[in-house]
Symmetry: D3
Subunit: 339 residues, 6 copies
Amino acid sequence: MKVVTFGEIMLRLSPHGYHRFTQADSFEATYGGGEANVAVSLSNYGMDAAFVTKVPEHAIGQAAVNDLRRYGVDTSKIVRGGERLGIYYLEKGASQRASQVIYDRAHSSIATAKQEDFNWDEIFDGVDWFHFTGITPALNDDVAAICLTAVKKARELGVKVSCDLNYRNKLWSKEKANEVMSGLMPYVDLVVANEEDAYDTFGIKAGNTDVTSGELEHDSYIDVARQLNEKFGCEYISITLRESVSASINNWAGMLYTGGKAYFSPTYKIHIVDRVGGGDSFGGGLIYSVLNGKKPQDAINFAVAASCLKHTVQGDYNRVSIQEVETLAGGDGSGRVQR
Amino acid sequence: MKVVTFGEIMLRLSPHGYHRFTQADSFEATYGGGEANVAVSLSNYGMDAAFVTKVPEHAIGQAAVNDLRRYGVDTSKIVRGGERLGIYYLEKGASQRASQVIYDRAHSSIATAKQEDFNWDEIFDGVDWFHFTGITPALNDDVAAICLTAVKKARELGVKVSCDLNYRNKLWSKEKANEVMSGLMPYVDLVVANEEDAYDTFGIKAGNTDVTSGELEHDSYIDVARQLNEKFGCEYISITLRESVSASINNWAGMLYTGGKAYFSPTYKIHIVDRVGGGDSFGGGLIYSVLNGKKPQDAINFAVAASCLKHTVQGDYNRVSIQEVETLAGGDGSGRVQR
Amino acid sequence: MKVVTFGEIMLRLSPHGYHRFTQADSFEATYGGGEANVAVSLSNYGMDAAFVTKVPEHAIGQAAVNDLRRYGVDTSKIVRGGERLGIYYLEKGASQRASQVIYDRAHSSIATAKQEDFNWDEIFDGVDWFHFTGITPALNDDVAAICLTAVKKARELGVKVSCDLNYRNKLWSKEKANEVMSGLMPYVDLVVANEEDAYDTFGIKAGNTDVTSGELEHDSYIDVARQLNEKFGCEYISITLRESVSASINNWAGMLYTGGKAYFSPTYKIHIVDRVGGGDSFGGGLIYSVLNGKKPQDAINFAVAASCLKHTVQGDYNRVSIQEVETLAGGDGSGRVQR
Amino acid sequence: MKVVTFGEIMLRLSPHGYHRFTQADSFEATYGGGEANVAVSLSNYGMDAAFVTKVPEHAIGQAAVNDLRRYGVDTSKIVRGGERLGIYYLEKGASQRASQVIYDRAHSSIATAKQEDFNWDEIFDGVDWFHFTGITPALNDDVAAICLTAVKKARELGVKVSCDLNYRNKLWSKEKANEVMSGLMPYVDLVVANEEDAYDTFGIKAGNTDVTSGELEHDSYIDVARQLNEKFGCEYISITLRESVSASINNWAGMLYTGGKAYFSPTYKIHIVDRVGGGDSFGGGLIYSVLNGKKPQDAINFAVAASCLKHTVQGDYNRVSIQEVETLAGGDGSGRVQR
Amino acid sequence: MKVVTFGEIMLRLSPHGYHRFTQADSFEATYGGGEANVAVSLSNYGMDAAFVTKVPEHAIGQAAVNDLRRYGVDTSKIVRGGERLGIYYLEKGASQRASQVIYDRAHSSIATAKQEDFNWDEIFDGVDWFHFTGITPALNDDVAAICLTAVKKARELGVKVSCDLNYRNKLWSKEKANEVMSGLMPYVDLVVANEEDAYDTFGIKAGNTDVTSGELEHDSYIDVARQLNEKFGCEYISITLRESVSASINNWAGMLYTGGKAYFSPTYKIHIVDRVGGGDSFGGGLIYSVLNGKKPQDAINFAVAASCLKHTVQGDYNRVSIQEVETLAGGDGSGRVQR
Amino acid sequence: MKVVTFGEIMLRLSPHGYHRFTQADSFEATYGGGEANVAVSLSNYGMDAAFVTKVPEHAIGQAAVNDLRRYGVDTSKIVRGGERLGIYYLEKGASQRASQVIYDRAHSSIATAKQEDFNWDEIFDGVDWFHFTGITPALNDDVAAICLTAVKKARELGVKVSCDLNYRNKLWSKEKANEVMSGLMPYVDLVVANEEDAYDTFGIKAGNTDVTSGELEHDSYIDVARQLNEKFGCEYISITLRESVSASINNWAGMLYTGGKAYFSPTYKIHIVDRVGGGDSFGGGLIYSVLNGKKPQDAINFAVAASCLKHTVQGDYNRVSIQEVETLAGGDGSGRVQR
């Protein structure tokens, strides 16, 4: 089965270890972005995954492409041109000190892409699933229009569509997000959101949840899912539940709502290696599960186990195997040495 | 407002990661020392902070100066000369294995400094606050005499004085410490101590506290503060409360005693990145708070939050912003990614 | 007192930090192996420890020898020849992601060694103790025969013998292990096993212990020890008790059964730096304790404290001093900075 | 146009910088091998290049595959199975100290491959060129037989064949090489050799050349090429001319003999970054040139310029663009900064 | 004496060692830019040097400021605001492989600065010299206008002005450069150019010099200087003479033309460590020399020796002392160990 | 045959690559010193070499011991005690920029050693050769007296003595050196000097040699050797001839004068990796040669080839094999890859 994801891939620059930005005289250079991360997850699970974007025609753009190829992602539909590769700087937090992200993504090749850069008929040839996140249409009106073209074409061709809301307040206002995303959602079959996205994007409230205090309540999430389902008719609605005890310790779980019923995963207490890309690895695990016909409870368990493991992997990409995910989803989180 | 701190800055040589000394074939090279660390803290908070010391006239001495300049500290009053820059070797502990410090600081330029190296009238020109620690007079009698000259001049010029007791048994005996520090304390307005300093330096007992067992008792600390206040008349007496669960996990809090009343901060459970300099960052936070007119409860909360964050920062220096400290002091220690 | 250990030393290749194999473009290169690790432990405790093996006559073989020499191990009895140095690849796990070991040890110099390579009369000259693990006879029949020659000669010369069962299912079947080890055990004075070894090697069951769930039961371990004692007559039987909460957190304890009585150590909750070699450091601590006449309770406490500390040391070898072990065994696991 | 190369890919372990093996506590981990290196060269030039081999079914085998994918090589025909990935240790020389290579390649998956592992009809579907080196048949008789099957099938299907003699005296004797290679050469259209290969493999002498003294004589090379042409009828015979001034400085040139005429490239004086893979990058450049219809003089100039640049690239693979090669072949070796 | 320089400071991202961009998984992070580099040179020589620019108000902007402070540059006049810090990617060349620079500097804070961001009366208070390069007005018309304001104000206040032509064809056309620079040059007292700048910027030809072939002719350079002097009336005209033998070896010299006479420095054969910033270090050395009243021959010798040394220093900045420069200018380039 | 060397071993702290001290935030940590370096050389050649010194009783002192053990040096006679391990900071030069050494060796354990620390009867038991350098007696009068005791005892026991003059002007004046060394030389059988040592120590002039200009003249060196022989009666007098073209390129040769005849080695043009310890590796090679009965010409050729290779090895120690030295001494300096 073949999946296409569409969005931005950025150079991620991160000081080594727990160094702060002002201490760094060297940056780890990796690549990532919501949709690229999902493509790598799916490729790791043995699926045929392609990532579509636009990158500049120089060696840094090529390095981003090479990194995707390394993990088996089909990069043949990536367009070359434009000015620059977007960057994000990441400083890893620890204990009570939060991780910091500084975006330097404006004017990137993908942010300045045009409708004519992408031939969706060709891109969707033989494709079963299309994935994007709320970050992509947030880049600007042109890219939002490209997204709309893509999801309409997908619906036309019978390609299933998933979207991770991923609201980013540095990219657009809540009003703008609501307007644009409301136009895209009718074409979305599976939606992923964290505990704040539904509210930020559509004003849908998750009850009286206080994110900072870390208390999560199941009922309110079911309520949010029900509202999303009623509003846009998505078949699958999934919400990730993160309790941030500190930058070093998170509790992590998820819910899948489908067919009028909610399925909750177990909760994992995670010692964090790298938290960024955690949500994307959840999306990747869920798409894999649904495409491979897993039952809802198995699907949410697989997705949460996959993303639990992602928190232990350096870099945006989730580099874990199906077997590793199944072992954890099957109940063995003991971390005993595998010889 | 301008603050001057006075003491030794050392080259800190530390194996990478959790390597032991005998495994290391490379050392992280940073710089630090009780009073230099306080100067960097204050500079980070936007204050005009100068550090006074003596360093050798070669490139390693210059590298120490450069590192201070990098963080905005005024180094124009640093004297050049003498033989060597003091060194301390630090091996980072983990879990039940304790961190090890090996000092190689004897014969350093500052330890061989003379009264005539420092013109305190000039140094204190336009200055509001002077800070030193018990380590500095412990270097030897000459440096102790310089300290006495400095604090007397400070009192004369209306410069407030703070002192972190920081008893070091490798540098002097308890008897000697008592003798010298008792001569300096009458000029001190704000004193910082940890749970053992008051006893080691002045024989003042903190009740039946068993440091190793990690049980801390509030009343006994109030009692110690009261005794210090009675003996030396310091306006502010502050005690840091560390419960060392292991080299990886510490509980951390503090108390400020002023106006006959004790103010306790919340306690933070810290996953430690780098514990050295933790006390200094507390001092820096407290001086900042008092100089900027914070109320006692806010002051101790700021100081403890600041030093909590220091434990997550590599190197002696506390590289955190006022905003980061205020966020934590305001109750958000969730460590959620800041995008 | 002089100890000889005999077995394989391998090059250990490990990605830096928590990188996965497929991310690594550099490997930490250290050396280790069950019996080499014990030799280093003993050398660290000031004992005269020699390691016997066969390594190829090239620079990588020499590098393994040099690494042992660095820690004071007598390498003068190491034989040169054969084709290659065995390798194991280690990927460090974190939280729910398990550590992975990939062995590439077949065809190594030691695995192709012959009886005539080793002159045990000469090797045991002046020696008090001989140690090997179940890994060595598992290499193949020739090496198993060498082991048998060695233990018989040891018994003949009054050299005490210890063996860590260390069952490895990639090296041999349970049936084969039972057959070979049953021939060796009659010459063994002290046996070390973890909670699975006795069952895998001899079919001796430790009651209803579910390793993955992490519940350990004392009685069943005593029962296992009693069976081992009855079957082979070993004077000392020691079992390590590991509860693997996750790859980041383990609870660790041990039991020593001797004179018909079981002695349990305290349990340590460990934040893991490097778990590999943990069992070997236990063996090293126990041999040291027995050879130096410690009482059973002190012996097991020392061995468990030693191996607790090993989990905080990078690399297979336990680089800790007697004093560090005694401090922890004496109850101070606070990890406070040692200045 | 599509090219297939067939052979072994190894993990290359190399101390950082100029460290000797016995100093290293870390190895750079890259991947390479004669034929894999050619595939990467061709992929860099925009050709469709596939590499065929057998690698073990574990993460280290996968890492080798990923590294090839990163540079765009088609890895879909790589077979999984067997015991291990071959390794070579490389210590980089400098000045008068020679680079050292220690092979640990015996028992690798490819060395234990069987005829049935490869379906050459399928592999050669749509393929224009097939490349292998003398290293591959040298692995053992089975692999030599696979090579013979492959070149016969290639001839049958009209696929052009190239071979780099690459004699390795650690893998086989001159007699054995002569016997096996003489059976393969009739199917080879383009042969690459260095100044010693023709003699070592076929006893063909290059006149009175003293390699160590570094004096190279053109006529003798023409003579060698003529003999190879007469003996095996290869259309293209190319010889690389290396004058090793020291491990830091080499002079480098090449000759292409075709149609009864010899074409010599200019000679480059190279400051060496990484010499290993230099010959393979020559082969890659030559195959590219011939496949793209370059005239003989242009072809040898391109191949030598390409391999000159390889000596400045870390790792076995030649990561240079057509444009970079053309610039150098066009006469600009000034190395001026390209902004 | 106080010098102000004005321009852009960028984050420089460079793969370690000789890695190519597509190999890098880590970048050395340093900071630099034509005018910042000059400021650091002057600060190293003990002068009071300030750098004026605009950087974003986040940690990466601050890191650039900190790096300047580290080397003693006065950063108090740096303006905060705008979107991003410009970046340039640098891949270090070797032998025949040229270094590659990829600029990602558009939309930087300084490129979007406005006249009102800078108060030149205040900036020039107490200042003796002002320096900028042709890169700064090339950023765009707004910044060109700021430059014009600055040089006019400098002339008005008696501040000497120097300019390094530094033509960059990626930033503007020759026509545009000619137009803008011709408006600025009348205010310039000292101009620095390399062998191509005068032609690219003003169409002034240096005779029949073929840069790639590396043949440099003195007379033609004198002719260029004479033309520049006649056209703009600059008191000092200096031309750097680089013969690029390869990316590893350059020959380096310079000429100073003043009072109708040309002074040539000796030529240095340089083994290059880091070539970027070489021209800036020449400018720094020349400004220092002129400001300190050196005679023309001494001035050009100092400037060339200083920049010769820069080629051996990693990073854009020239971190050398006056004494080191004087030793080399005095004829000792033997590189013997200084103990 | 057994050799003992006596002197100081220091921690060597060196920025990575070509970083200057003020850029370094990490130091390579190795160990070395004139006599320790000779011991490692001899151990590498398979001789039984012991190093005698005094190091502090902490982990850094132990790390120095471990590093010696790693290379097979007998460290059993090293005394523990005293205050600190001496340090030297080394910044590697390149091209015209000289390497810088900053010593921080005062007050080291060996510098504060006393006669009673060393029992020379015991140390010399079974020993054939004793080596020291002029650095050791230069430490202070006590250590000079220890040296005198040692050489007298050596003469008494028939142990041959060698001394490398190694004049260090930071440690003592020429007058003092002359006085002390003149007392030691009568006991010296083999003396090593560079082109300046004989003059600095004994006022013996090497004719009109201008070291900086790099012109070396053979006759004057023979003259110096003759004078040394006449004055002190040493059997072997050897002079190293270094022409420092730059910090990157040195020409290197040596002369051995014995039996009234001078033997000159060939001259090597060296691309330098690490020049420090070059002289010591010459001494090591010469002692090996003489002890093993090589003829004078072979001896000087071996010593110079050995030290030529040292310049390509990182760190003070010469890690080369007899075979590598013989290959170079035999005329093959081509640096071709050894497979």
